[in-house]
Assembly symmetry: C2
DNA sequence: ATATTTACTACGACAGCCGTAGTACGACAG
DNA sequence: CTGTCGTACTACGGCTGTCGTAGTAAATAT
């Protein structure tokens, strides 16, 4: 079974995460589960990758963090909220995706050539 | 104008190059021009990236090199030919592309959500 | 009482891409 | 006959994002 390699997904983790923050703030564990569910187990993000993406994106101003100290039962969590800059970045990345898709598809051979 | 970032193309340079070797051997400079032309200048591969990809892929057994010593006018060139392993790799990468595309597109918001 | 799930943090390694620089040959202009 | 442009590379080192491994700790299920 083909799996998605890290080199291939590289650069898209950002938009995957930002997408999940578009409508409401969220936190690491929940996001990782959502990615898994939404991709039908085809992509399971590594924890370290996810948390380092948070750090990087906060540094870049794409997201902001806040801590929910005392939840009704449960450990304290660090939530992330997308910023306006983050939304712009997301939009730009989506456009880039369209372009990239078009380019790459020119280099995908149709069945005939793959003899 | 949106440009394709290196993190996004990463992992696809291999299939782009292999595609151009599917029907006949070729060499660095020609391949770089073909990529440029076929992508309508949307993607211009860096020389260093291209040549290091050659080295890597030869090490992995995806391509084989041979030198054309004395061409009718012109410097000597190193040509690369795709191997059977390379063809298999290319096929596998194309399948992976289909999968990746499906996954990523789930995280591209439709216009409505991008308010 | 113990295992599992939740929710992270730290550290270091690695691979692929890229910037910079340099080599060298041929062709063509001035 | 000198210089610039196009062709065809090689070498070296840096950066970034991902990943493996490991550890911490609270809450929940068994």
């Amino acid at each position: 079974m083909a799996e998605i390699s890290s080199d291939v997904i590289r650069g898209y983790n950002d938009i995957i995460i930002l997408y999940l923050l578009l409508s409401n703030p969220s936190y690491g564990y929940e996001i990782s589960k959502q990615i898994r569910t939404m991709s039908e187990d085809k992509y399971i993000i590594k924890e370290t990758t996810l948390y380092s993406a948070f750090t990087r994106m906060e540094k870049n101003g794409f997201i902001e963090s806040f801590v929910d100290e005392d939840l009704a039962g449960g450990k304290k969590r660090t939530y992330y909220r997308i910023t306006e800059t983050g939304r712009e970045h997301y939009r730009a990345k989506c456009e880039e995706w369209t372009l990239t898709k078009e380019v790459i598809e020119k280099f995908i051979a149709d069945e005939g050539r793959l003899v």
